[in-house]
């Protein structure tokens, strides 16, 4: 595999051993990112001088015999809804076009302390609302396998940066599948840890009870290592779990004896693309040959997840986004003489937010309004408990639940113009967030579409706080497809 496609663990080892320098690695990835960005639009900003400076600091540590950390000199791309002191934090929104954060998110700080070098901020669906990265104020991000197709979303830029080898790994956020679905559509690994495992301090809030930060990588061990660095209690996020983090690297390469893989009949239905189903079946059969047991589980509430999610997430978003009023930060509209403060709020918000964000704010406002609260929001929260219980019950029979991350491979730009049609694509990922579970998507095959091959991912879900076990199961699958990572035509 060529140099840009080595994984973060290998890069860190090479820098630590002196086989290469952080400066050399960073220079190479910066140059690749700059070159590819013209056609893929993965990055909103690339930080050349700051990245080189950080790389030289890593090299100085290596030279001085100090421990530079496990991710020494590994170039990292950060989704633009994670606060960084370097550059801007725009959430791909005109609302925050000029916003500069006075602080850095905890997860980014921890990765930097482990030696990782921030090389840029990646484009996303505005405020993480979308499944295609078409709703980005800085233009759509292109899929490196076929630039007429979407990369998925909302962490589209981060998925492209990882899959096309424009960084060592990237960070995304996942509220309803925003790490896993683009990872599946771009052909990289996307890991969403258990809710409460990774600090959300510095993550611009979308749905606070659903949001979780996670890595997009080119190997399962990279997902495990970066997760290990980020995970754990943070005093600045009271929802981080006060539980010790099980070392995900320790037994990563040891297959789980007698792994029980749950296969819900609801996940391999006729509504999926036929090639998606055949790839998933192939992966399941290979796992079975390896000694895993396939267990049929029943998740009848799978379909209702979309309705539940598209009440809870917009409700939380409408509250979280109420802070953007044009007063203390963000876009402020111009007023004519005699216009009121109320006009300032509503005009600033109408000018600053794009259409998808406006739709979701209105949807959230509606389901929380006094006459409809019980019928929509209250009911959705009750269904949420039932969905969680359904998973708890299924996990008494299996260790992980397998299925697709997306019902189809990457679709064409404009292919999902109707918002509801786009929402329905999230059917296999939203329930994970509703129940707060860890889940991962990793590449297992390709759909042939004309001259283009389009990646397909396997989605594995596990019980809350079984992150290390989930990563081990994913590593077992990864070993079954040793040649799956290859260079996309547009990278």
């Amino acid at each position: 595999m060529s140099a840009p496609f080595t994984d973060a663990v290998s890069i860190g080892e090479a820098v630590r051993s002196g086989a290469t320098t952080a400066e050399q690695v960073t220079k190479e990835f910066l140059s690749r990112a700059q070159k590819a960005n013209a056609s893929l639009n993965a990055f909103h900003e690339i930080f050349e001088s700051e990245a080189m400076e950080a790389a030289r600091a890593v090299d100085a540590k290596v030279k001085a015999g100090k421990n530079p950390g496990p991710l020494a000199g590994v170039p990292m791309a950060v989704k633009d809804n994670l606060a960084t002191k370097v550059g801007r934090t725009t959430c791909s929104s005109k609302m925050l076009e000029h916003y500069r954060s006075p602080f850095t998110a905890t997860c980014v700080e921890r990765l930097q302390a482990a030696g990782a070098v921030v090389i840029g901020k990646t484009n996303m669906d505005e405020f993480a609302m979308g499944s295609s990265t078409e709703h980005c104020a800085w233009g759509p991000v292109k899929n490196p396998w076929d630039t007429t197709r979407v990369p998925g979303g909302s962490s589209g830029g981060s998925a492209v940066a990882a899959a096309a080898g424009l960084c060592g790994f990237s960070l995304g956020s996942d509220t309803g599948g925003s790490i896993r679905q683009p990872a599946s559509l771009c052909g990289c690994v996307g890991f969403k840890p258990t809710y409460g495992r990774v600090s959300r301090y510095g993550l611009v809030a979308f749905g606070s009870s659903l949001d979780q930060v996670g890595p997009l990588t080119r190997s399962v061990r990279d997902a495990a290592l970066t997760y290990q660095v980020m995970a754990g209690l943070d005093d600045r996020d009271s929802t981080t779990a006060d539980l010790s983090v099980e070392d995900p690297m320790k037994d990563l390469d040891t297959p789980i004896a007698g792994l029980r893989v749950g296969v819900p009949k609801q996940y391999l239905c006729d509504a999926n693309d036929a090639e998606v189903n055949s790839c998933i079946n192939d992966a399941l059969q290979r796992l079975q040959k390896l000694g895993a047991t396939l267990v049929e589980v029943d998740l009848p509430l799978t379909d209702i997840g979309i309705s539940t999610y598209y009440v809870i997430a917009p409700a939380e978003a409408s509250g979280n986004l109420a802070r953007f009023d044009g007063i203390r930060y963000g876009h402020r509209a111009a007023l004519k003489t005699g216009e009121s403060l109320d006009t300032l709020y509503s005009r600033s918000r109408a000018e600053g937010f794009g259409p998808e964000v406006q739709r979701r704010i209105m949807l959230g406002t509606y389901v929380l309004s006094s006459g409809y609260y019980d019928a929509y929001y209250g009911r959705a929260l009750r269904v949420r408990r039932l969905i969680k219980a359904e998973f708890d019950n299924a996990f008494t029979k299996c260790d992980v639940i397998a299925g697709p991350a997306s019902p189809s491979p990457a679709f064409a730009f404009g292919g999902m113009n109707d918002p509801l049609k786009m929402y329905l694509c999230d059917v296999y990922t939203v329930n994970t967030n509703i129940a707060g579970l860890p889940a991962i998507s990793l590449p297992i095959g390709f759909a042939k579409d004309g001259p283009h091959s389009l990646p397909i991912g396997l989605h594995l879900q596990a019980p809350a706080f079984a992150d290390a076990k989930l990563l081990r199961a994913a590593r077992m699958v990864e070993k079954l497809f040793p040649d799956i990572l290859r260079q996309a035509p547009h990278s």
Partner: protein
């Protein structure tokens, strides 16, 4: 709804949103088919307990850092359009 959400939307655009949102709400109405009698709402997937920080002063952001993103600043204040006169008019 747009008014309640503080969004100034042109009438033509409002019609488009109305159709799209009606569509989504029509789908979401499926929630009514689920029996939730006796089920308690679940607001967060984890059992969160209130964790209190030690009551000790720590580092805070400087005034300069706090103001660097403000659209309009006058001296030590964030400037806003006149409020009172308009409220009375």
């Amino acid at each position: 709804m747009a008014k309640l959400a503080r969004l100034e939307i042109a009438p033509a655009k409002l019609e488009q949103y109305r159709g799209e949102l009606a569509n989504v709400l029509g789908h979401v109405a499926k929630l009514k088919s689920i029996n939730v009698d006796g089920i308690e709402p679940l607001t967060s997937p984890v059992d969160s307990t209130n964790r209190l920080a030690a009551d000790q002063p720590g580092a805070t952001l400087s005034l300069e850092e706090l103001f660097m993103n403000a659209p309009a600043v006058e001296g030590r204040f964030i400037a806003v359009p006149k409020v009172l006169a308009e409220e009375n008019s």
